[in-house]
């Protein structure tokens, strides 16, 4: 770390500094009024995510109160059974999908650039788009509750209960479409956070020097990227079954309801850790600060985070121990599930060691960390119990599981979150929270929570199943339910008190001084509240504890004594650095405020609503409109004048990212394709699962797909890919002649492939409502065709952009991004051909 010494030579005169600050303010300004809808800045978007998440949390909380009111006494008729089932389903759905994940994403979106010393996330428009998708999807889902047609088959939507036959209303459709819409937001945040953390850390911040919180968020974001696609696939398939009658999960048509459970929990278990990891990240951030010493075992923590991420993808079956699986598989998943206690235990004990070796101060944020320690450890221990198969057979689907799950989720996520909120409040508002109200809020919540859920373990052991709308007085459950209900209202009071405290503090809180908790991380080097650009200048940071080692850093940053202290060119700029070493690689100029994210999300909302209402022509039009908006959005990139008013490089700075061949766009595409690959692998899993396990699977003796045509189409695609590789190689050698023509031809080859695939589809005469086999074939072909079409369109646009001069030898990045898509498409295509057309011919079908 040689922050000021390195740049102090570049001392600027006061009037220069003033002009520079004016430039910076202008370039990064957030418009007011209607224009505020165009804001893409991560600070604003992060706050929007968090506030919206809080609002949904209150909705979920009210639903919880309704549940506890109904169950307070046996045989109550407070709510009709159907309404109760809607309330239970929506409570879980809202808390999981509309509160827990988005609010943590919001926190990460807000915090990550500040912690890694960047001015913004790397794809700001994607953040805004994600927010709008979340808001609209959430509102669509929530509206169902007010129309009394909310989903009612439980938040994991087990089919056949959620199928058209047993849930004929629109409830399941609201869930499937709304949640998928919301998940677009999770995925976009996931992709963006991964790339931002890997590629935009400030100069010198090597991977092993970044704050632990960034490691946790990196793991969370990677898990979102890989973990959400299975559920998106499941939702698409189930919605297709409901709307069109494709029998993916219907035994009579050769499907299997258990496939849904696999897809759901392939997502659902990682999701638990997606929620827990950011919480643990908050704990790992707060404990060193309040213990006044660096965390013990940074390397161990990183190891634990990564291991948790990997193990969490191998545990999903422990939600399905009672579906009747081979014992060997059960024992394997049982042991794997228990094994996750190791990385968790490592984290807990390194936190304890940090406290033990430090001089901990007990302030309000730490109270919550203590609450976390008790609640989460208890939840983790009951989790180990649940991983034991015979015990699981007893308590599965009882209130014991309800209690366990709340201990893990509320303990692992809510307690750290509130602790983190208190901790970062001075950053949000520039003011300190009160001590008294905060303490009352904590104790009421803590006691209320344990009163509600500790006793619920017992209720479950006494045999009370979950999701029953009532129970008999002779069961012996009434006392425990009453205690749970009364305590839950205590907890509600505690939460109300916290909200009041937070609201009051904006008005009455004492103004906070710089770095009020004496923290070590860079977010406290911003102004309070932070400006949209976070840092006037970007420091070089080579330590894990910049503010402890260089307490003058906030001042020197504000004085513009570090990097990128110029904005007269009108660009929003951040550093692009090496993913491992943090060495400076390029200057990334990121897009500014834009209407396109909002418009695209609005068009998708129209798609969602028209699918709900079965207005398919409108849905089709809206899809095209949304695609148009998204492509229009992508048009303002590279050397487009609106993306970069002035594309000249500044002397002394590294090149602009659009002039390199490995800019963040390549990384974004790669991570997005990783998500896409997870979706595709889930589809492939579905195909092989149904083929081998589904009880009434039937497959025609002769594959209906024409192998000749498929191979011809594959050859067209391969030729296009080779040609594109050649174009990129030439670009690398700065040879741009004939680039546009080449791109048009490649696009044409994509079109040829698409045409051949349409022909295959027509010849196949698939009967998609009769058998799951034909239905899977159809979905796979459509998947491939969409990708082929997408690749062709993007390549065509590249050709046009070359013509406009937005892409070329001077700005060669975009063809590299498109090449990545072609590589992916080609790989997926041949896998599809082998799995769907070749293997069935080799192994042979059955009828």
């Amino acid at each position: 770390m040689n922050d000021s010494s390195q740049d102090s030579s570049r001392k600027t005169a006061p009037e220069d500094t003033r002009r520079f600050l004016e430039d910076l303010e202008r370039v990064w300004a957030n418009p007011r009024g209607l224009g505020a809808l165009t804001i893409v800045n991560h600070t604003t978007v992060g706050l929007r995510f968090m506030l919206t998440g809080m609002a949904f949390f209150l909705v979920g909380g009210v639903l919880a109160m309704l549940i506890r009111s109904q169950l307070a006494f046996p045989g109550q008729n407070f709510m009709a059974p159907e309404i109760y089932n809607q309330v239970v389903t929506m409570h879980g759905t809202v808390m999981m999908f509309l509160f827990a994940i988005p609010i943590l994403e919001g926190l990460a979106i807000y915090m990550i650039p500040k912690m890694i010393g960047a001015r913004d996330l790397v794809c700001p428009r994607l953040s805004a788009f994600g927010y709008w998708c979340y808001l609209f999807g959430g509102l669509i889902l929530l509206s169902s509750l007010f129309m009394e047609m909310a989903p009612s088959s439980g938040w994991f939507m087990y089919t056949p209960l959620s199928s058209k036959v047993y849930s004929p209303g629109l409830g399941s459709d609201f869930w499937l479409l709304g949640i998928t819409f919301v998940e677009i937001s999770a995925l976009s945040a996931g992709v963006e956070l991964v790339v931002s953390i890997l590629r935009t850390r400030t100069q010198g911040m090597a991977l092993h020097k970044m704050p632990l919180f960034a490691w946790y968020i990196l793991a969370m974001a990677m898990m979102i990227v890989v973990g959400f696609p299975p559920l998106i696939l499941g939702s698409v398939l189930l919605e297709l079954e409901r709307a069109v009658g494709m029998p993916f999960f219907d035994v009579a048509g050769g499907g299997d309801p258990i496939l849904w459970q696999h897809l759901f929990w392939l997502f659902g278990h990682p999701e638990v850790y997606i929620i827990f990891l950011p919480g643990a990240g908050i704990v790992s951030t707060l404990i060193p600060v309040f213990a006044g010493r660096p965390i013990v075992g940074y390397g161990w923590a990183v190891f634990a985070v990564i291991t948790t991420g990997f193990i969490s993808f191998g545990l999903w079956v422990h939600h399905m121990f009672t579906v009747g699986m081979p014992q060997l598989a059960q024992t394997f998943f049982s042991a794997a599930s228990m094994l996750v206690a190791v990385p968790t235990g490592i984290q807990i004990f390194l936190w304890l060691a940090t406290l033990w070796l430090g001089k901990p101060r007990l302030q309000v944020p730490m109270l919550w960390i203590f609450g976390f320690l008790f609640v989460f450890v208890l939840g983790g221990l009951t989790g180990v119990m649940l991983a034991l198969v015979p015990f699981n057979w007893q308590v599965h689907d009882t209130h014991f599981v309800v209690a366990h799950m709340h201990y893990v989720l509320v303990g692992g996520m809510f307690f750290p979150l509130i602790g983190g909120l208190y901790y970062w409040l001075p950053l949000f508002s520039g003011r300190m929270p009160s001590q008294t109200l905060g303490k009352w809020g904590f104790w009421l919540t803590f006691l209320g929570f344990n009163g509600t859920f500790l006793i619920m373990h017992w209720t479950g052991l006494l045999g009370m199943p979950r999701r029953v709308y009532t129970y008999g007085a002779d069961e012996g459950w009434q006392l425990f339910n009453l205690i749970s209900s009364v305590s839950s209202f205590l907890m509600a009071m505690g939460i109300a008190m916290i909200l009041v405290d937070i609201m009051l503090h904006f008005r009455f809180g004492k103004p906070a001084r710089q770095n009020p908790w004496n923290a070590d991380t860079l977010e406290w080097a911003t102004s309070m509240p932070p400006s949209p650009y976070n840092f006037v200048s970007l420091p070089k940071v080579e330590t894990r504890h910049p503010l402890w080692e260089y307490p003058q850093l906030p001042r020197t940053i504000a004085e513009g004594r570090h990097g990128l202290a110029a904005a007269f060119h009108g660009r929003r700029e951040i550093w692009g650095t090496d993913p491992l070493t943090g060495k400076l690689r390029e200057v990334i100029h990121i897009p500014t405020n834009s209407w396109w994210p909002l418009f695209a999300a609005l068009a998708l909302a129209v798609v969602c609503i028209s699918l709900l209402l079965r207005w398919y022509p409108l849905a089709g039009i809206a899809v095209l409109v949304a695609a148009g908006f998204l492509l229009r959005w992508s048009w303002e990139n590279g050397a487009h004048p609106r993306a970069a008013p002035d594309t000249r490089e500044q002397p002394g700075n590294p090149p602009l990212h659009s002039r390199t061949l490995d800019g963040p766009g390549v990384w974004t595409m790669a991570v997005a394709l990783l998500a896409n690959g997870a979706f595709f692998l889930s589809l492939l899993f579905g195909w092989f699962y149904l083929w081998t396990i589904s009880p009434e699977w039937s497959m025609p003796p002769e594959s209906p797909l024409s192998l000749t045509l498929l191979v011809l189409a594959g050859l067209a695609s391969s030729a296009g890919w080779l040609w594109l590789e050649r174009c990129v190689r030439r670009l690398r050698r700065r040879q741009g002649a004939g680039l546009a023509k080449g791109l048009y031809m490649i696009s044409a080859l994509g079109a040829v492939q698409l045409g051949l695939l349409v022909w295959v589809l027509v010849l196949a005469e698939l009967d998609v409502t009769a058998t799951a086999h034909d239905a899977v074939l159809m979905v796979s072909l459509v998947y491939v065709m969409l990708h082929t079409g997408f690749g062709a369109v993007l390549t065509l646009l590249q050709g046009l952009r070359v013509g406009y001069g937005y892409v070329g030898v001077e700005a060669p990045l975009e063809p590299v991004v498109v090449r990545l898509l072609w590589r992916y498409n080609l790989g997926v295509y041949w896998i599809v051909v082998v799995s769907l057309a070749v293997l069935p011919r080799m192994i042979g079908g059955t009828t």
Binding site: G75, V251, G297, M338, L355, P360, V377, V384, G463, E475
Partner: protein
């Protein structure tokens, strides 16, 4: 009528619950079979040990705030202490716990696995419907016996349950005998349970199955082998058939039944025109021995005189959303007459 629905809230029962704590006819901790007893034992072991772990972790955390005198440690000593925390608490403790748990825990489930035995156990087939239980005894001497919402099994010997779902996924669970197993359409799952001695046990669907998931109770009774066989013998088709048609007084009720109810409900011995069967919308419980069943509506009402008639009149209030139509065309006296006749179907 509320008293019929749920037994009176009684202070003595309340106290009894407090005193006995673990008792209850669905309590995992009040086992009545070997498999459940194994699991209960495992639970107490885990609960005890894990409570210690929890107390230790919280105490360590709290004590770190209280420690007044902190020995000044060198960097090396700090590192060593930290490693002791992490390796001891984070690696050794969980790995040892998991090891012990798997060694003792996994065998606890062995009894519930339907592995082949010297003398094959009796098989009882249970099918979950929205929201009732169909129970079949395919091995009964003299032919298969079919009943609903009531399960009778021999005590003191293992019984294999073959379960499936007719519509959605349900879950078969007799907490005091052992673990649960899901009833999945298109799949047949097997679980082996054993009751130590004769007794009555509670059971309830354990997988959320829709509107009336809460009212899908199964009355389970374990009997001595001889009683069990006698019980099955009483339900042989030939006996039930005569039972249904023996009294002329109920002939009008039978006619109404054939017209309105027989589309979904079978009663052994009633001849139903084919046209009626073709209309059958869904399958309802077989009623051939309904008079002898302990409950109505899968546990909603206790069976007593006049209960069936009352149920027929009010079932949509007692169990809202259940699949039986309200049959508004039938006046209360007609429903009561059907109920009176059905009550006689007690072998």
């Amino acid at each position: 009528m509320r008293a019929r629905l749920i037994r009176v809230w009684s202070i003595p029962a309340f106290l009894a619950v407090l005193l006995t704590g673990c008792a209850g006819n669905k309590s995992i901790l009040d086992p009545a079979g070997r498999a459940a007893a194994d699991v209960a034992l495992v639970w107490w072991g885990m609960a005890g040990f894990f409570s210690l772990v929890l107390i230790m972790v919280v105490a360590l955390g709290l004590y770190s705030f209280r420690r007044r005198s902190r020995p000044k440690l060198s960097a090396l000593e700090e590192k060593r202490l930290a490693r002791r925390f992490i390796l001891g608490g984070g690696v050794l403790l969980p790995v040892a716990t998991i090891g012990v748990l798997l060694i003792f825990g996994v065998p606890a489930g062995q009894r519930m696995l339907p592995v082949p035995l010297g003398t094959p156990p009796d098989v009882i087939q249970v099918t979950g419907h929205q929201w009732w239980w169909e129970v079949r005894y395919p091995g009964a001497e003299g032919g298969e016996v079919v009943t609903a919402n009531q399960l009778v099994m021999p005590a003191g010997e293992p019984v294999d349950f073959h379960v499936t779902g007719a519509d959605v996924i349900h879950s078969f669970w007799i907490p005091r005998l052992g673990g649960k197993i899901d009833m999945i359409p298109g799949h047949i799952n097997r679980i082996r349970l054993e009751a130590d001695s004769p007794g009555v046990f509670g059971a309830q669907c354990a997988e959320f199955c829709g509107t009336q998931h809460a009212h899908m109770q199964l009355y389970v009774e374990a009997m001595e082998r001889s009683d069990y066989e006698a019980w099955l013998a009483e339900r042989q088709a030939a006996k039930l058939e005569t039972l249904a048609v023996q009294s002329d007084a109920h002939a009008p009720a039978r006619e109404v039944f054939v017209e309105y109810c027989a589309r979904c409900h079978r009663v052994a011995g009633l001849t139903v025109p084919d046209s009626q069967w073709e209309l059958a919308p869904i399958q309802g419980p077989d009623l051939s021995d309904i008079g002898a069943r302990p409950t109505l509506g899968a546990g909603v009402l206790a069976m007593e005189e006049g209960a069936i008639g009352y149920w027929l009149e009010h079932h949509q209030q007692l169990k809202p959303g259940n699949r039986m139509p309200a049959h508004l065309a039938l006046e209360p006296p007609a429903l009561q007459a059907i109920g009176d006749w059905l009550e006689t179907l007690s072998p």
